[in-house]
């Protein structure tokens, strides 16, 4: 565990102080609990996700942060033994309501995974995959437009524009992850969930992705799970600290990293456990 120096911490959070955004609640978790079979992994989590902000979920391994993230677009549905209790809303609509189509929900709440997982297709087809499924482009020119825009927003266009027909799996790890982000952006989601998006990347690629996350905040709401305190401090406006399946504390990132209310948060961010 790296211990941040006081100085770097203040620099990191200082930038965020200025970035005040509107405070619309995009998603809200209300007493969310998750069971895997008989085992309860998440207990009574109440957490708001604010629009056009980056919310970071931190905490030691196995604390339930990824589990909570996967509840937000119902990816837990794909695990047979998983069961979710409580209520999660997106724009005040219950996403676990019977009337909600999970496919539509996932188009609105996109996801980027821990390990870059481009499909074994060309770069173009990787990005075009989502729009094709949802019928977003009527003509080839429209599709070209969507692909180009998405790759540009994901800050990878210049690197791949000359080789769109080559396989996405041939890119480097950092490029693959940005391709996956482009793929998620291509279906125009409102919320993007990122599950430790940089944990498989080297520091330079990580820096590129972090920059990208900050840019994406203009148009999207982002929830990011991360193991790196520095990353949470650098990219997020709000931070939520999980421990042993409980939400310990949630608040503005600058406050969380300088003056947390909970002893456990204090210990975790200073590297005393985790």
């Amino acid at each position: 565990m790296n211990i941040m120096t006081e100085q770097s911490l203040e620099n990191a959070v200082g930038d965020k102080m200025n970035a005040k955004s509107n405070e619309v609640i995009k998603m809200r978790g209300d007493k969310v609990g998750v069971f895997y079979g008989d085992k309860q992994a998440l207990f009574d989590v109440n957490l708001d996700v604010r629009q056009n902000q980056v919310t970071a979920l931190i905490g030691p391994s196995g604390c339930g942060k990824s589990t909570f993230l996967r509840c937000l677009n119902r990816m837990n549905d794909t695990i047979d033994s998983a069961r979710v209790t409580g209520k999660i809303t997106l724009d005040d609509e219950d996403i676990y309501d019977k009337n909600i189509d999970v496919v539509e929900l996932r188009a609105r709440v996109g996801m980027v995974f821990q390990k870059p997982n481009p499909f074994p297709k060309s770069i173009y087809e990787n990005v075009a995959y989502g729009p094709r499924i949802h019928g977003l482009a009527k003509r080839k020119a429209d599709m070209d437009q969507i692909v180009e825009q998405s790759l540009k927003k994901a800050a990878i266009w210049n690197e791949v524009k000359d080789r769109l027909q080559e396989p996405g799996t041939g890119l480097s790890g950092g490029q693959q992850q940005r391709l996956c982000i482009a793929r998620a952006i291509a279906v125009s989601p409102e919320v993007i969930l990122m599950d430790e998006p940089c944990s498989a990347l080297d520091p330079i690629a990580t820096a590129r992705v972090e920059e990208l996350i900050d840019e994406l905040r203009q148009n999207y709401t982002i929830v990011i799970v991360t193991h790196s305190m520095q990353q949470a401090a650098r990219v997020s406006q709000r931070t939520a600290m999980f421990h042993l399946g409980y939400l310990v504390e949630e608040g503005a990132t600058d406050k969380m990293f300088t003056n947390p209310d909970d002893k456990r948060t204090q210990d975790y961010i200073t590297g005393r456990f985790g």
Binding site: T78, V103, R106, F113, F119, K121, I133, T169, R183, A184
Partner: protein, 488 residues
């Protein structure tokens, strides 16, 4: 002393060597020097040195002494003349050998006063339950007695040498035991050779099979031209009576090849869609509980012997389809009792578990990250399967299908029963047709002279079949390489 007993003693020596070797190595480990190999490696090395060279020697000795014995008997037999009592020299030798074997059953007293004529000897042997050919000659008796003596002498020498080598090997290995001796490396090198040998056997067997067919095939092509075999459209290998030279029938491959491919095609048309869909269901949709019941049940289908499928086809499905077609046309059935359609249908059922089981494994091997990626973008399960999982699994699935096709082409019993043996050339799937495998069986069974083209054609057919599946495998590999969508 019999070889089996010698072998047992050698193994016992090996076991003793193992135990002593292990103890000795353990005793030498007094904590001052770190031993290179653990104690049981020293034990194994002693055991291997005691057993392996001894067994090799015993095998070589047995082969050598039986050759020597044959020569010995040969030399002792009287010079052959035109009116020898026994038809051939080889028969002579084998008669002496069986006589010698019979004599070994007799006790010492009888042997001491052995009658000089076969007529007197026969009742004595018969009393011991030994029956001998009646043309055994009197002059063979002393030769047989002599042969027995030689054999037992050779056997004793061989046994003694083997045991000596075994004990020597054990002592040598035990003497080598030092804390820094590299027993582990020795044992593992020997293991490596063993593994190499095992894998070589498979390759050598393949070569042997091809060669054994090749020689007979060349012999066949000496009497029938390759042109008329490969491009002939009539299969009529007349079973010509001996001596009726010229008319030897026609051996056209085309009707058989067409039948083989036609039936395989029908079978694949049944098996591939059904098998693939069941694999998709099993891998993607079935709950663990359903899967745990349905998958074994499906694989049970693969365990049914193909002859039983054939019975099902000929007793149940064939007549049913014939009657059904008769009812449809209101008179004459257009599906015959034995037909391509029936055979293909039943063979397809047999192949369903093959396709589904192989494809299931391949689909399950597609990483979960692919599914998550697609589902996370809002794709439905079926879209994910169609657009991501099946394309990613495609090379494997193509491989599975070609493997299945090879089985369909090589399948015999179902077609024998369900498609008939008539070598027709027809495009109508409701008529009887036959396959290469069926004709191989046909040509090799019965009282035929072995070196007639009627029999030898089976080998030409066999090698054609072999080449066919070989080409298919090569094509499969090519397709898999070319269209591989690599994940990871």
């Amino acid at each position: 002393m019999s070889s089996l007993l010698v072998l047992a003693i050698v193994v016992a020596i090996g076991l003793v060597a193992f135990v002593i070797g292990r103890q000795r190595a353990a005793a030498q480990d007094n904590g001052t020097v770190k031993p290179h190999s653990r104690a049981h490696y020293h034990g194994w090395w002693a055991c291997l040195l005691a057993v392996l060279p001894a067994v090799l020697l015993l095998t070589a000795w047995n082969i050598g002494s039986s050759v020597y014995l044959d020569r010995h008997i040969h030399a002792a037999l009287p010079e052959r003349t035109a009116n020898s009592a026994v038809a051939s020299e080889a028969l002579d030798v084998s008669l002496v050998k069986s006589l010698a074997k019979g004599l070994r059953q007799l006790d010492a007293n009888t042997l001491a006063a052995l009658p000089a004529t076969f007529a007197d000897l026969q009742p004595l042997l018969a009393a011991k339950g030994v029956a001998l050919a009646t043309d055994t000659q009197d002059y063979m008796i002393p030769i047989a007695v002599e042969a027995n003596a030689v054999q037992s002498r050779l056997g004793m020498i061989g046994a003694a040498l083997t045991l000596l080598l075994s004990v020597a090997g054990a002592f040598y290995a035990l003497g080598q035991i030092r804390p820094r001796a590299r027993a582990r490396n020795n044992v593992e090198r020997l293991m490596l050779w063993g593994l190499l040998g095992a894998s070589t056997i498979a390759i050598l067997t393949t070569v042997g099979i091809v060669l054994s067919m090749l020689f007979q095939t060349i012999q066949f092509f000496e009497s029938v031209s390759p042109m008329s075999f490969f491009f002939g459209t009539v299969w009529d290998p007349r079973f010509a009576a001996a001596g009726s030279g010229g008319s030897q029938g026609q051996f056209g491959l085309i009707p058989l090849l067409a039948g083989t491919l036609y039936i395989a095609l029908v079978a694949l048309l049944v098996a591939v869609p059904v098998g693939l869909m069941s694999a998709v269901y099993m891998a993607e949709y079935a709950t663990p509980r359903i899967r745990s019941v349905v998958k074994p049940a499906l694989e049970l289908l693969a365990g049914i012997p193909t002859i039983v499928y054939g019975i099902f086809a000929v007793v149940t499905l064939g007549p049913f389809l014939r009657d059904l077609s008769a009812a449809l046309t209101g008179g004459s059935p257009f599906i015959q009792g034995q037909s391509i359609f029936t055979a293909g249908l039943v063979m397809g059922m047999m192949l369903i578990p093959v396709v589904s089981s192989l494809s299931d494994d391949i689909i399950t091997a597609v990483p979960r990250a692919m599914r998550d990626g697609s589902l996370g973008l809002g794709a439905t399960r079926s879209e994910t399967i169609k657009r991501v999982i099946l394309p990613a699994a495609l090379p494997g699935i193509v491989g599975a299908i070609l493997l299945t096709a090879s089985r369909a082409i090589g399948e015999t019993m179902i077609v024998v029963l369900a498609a008939g043996v008539a070598a027709n050339l027809t495009a109508n799937p409701f008529e009887a047709m036959t396959t290469i495998t069926v004709k191989i069986v046909n040509q090799l069974t019965g009282d035929l002279e072995f070196n007639s083209p009627q029999t030898l054609v089976a080998f030409a057919l066999g090698i054609t079949l072999f080449a066919l599946t070989l080409v298919m495998n090569i094509v499969a590999l090519y397709i898999v390489r070319k269209y591989r969508e690599q994940y990871e």
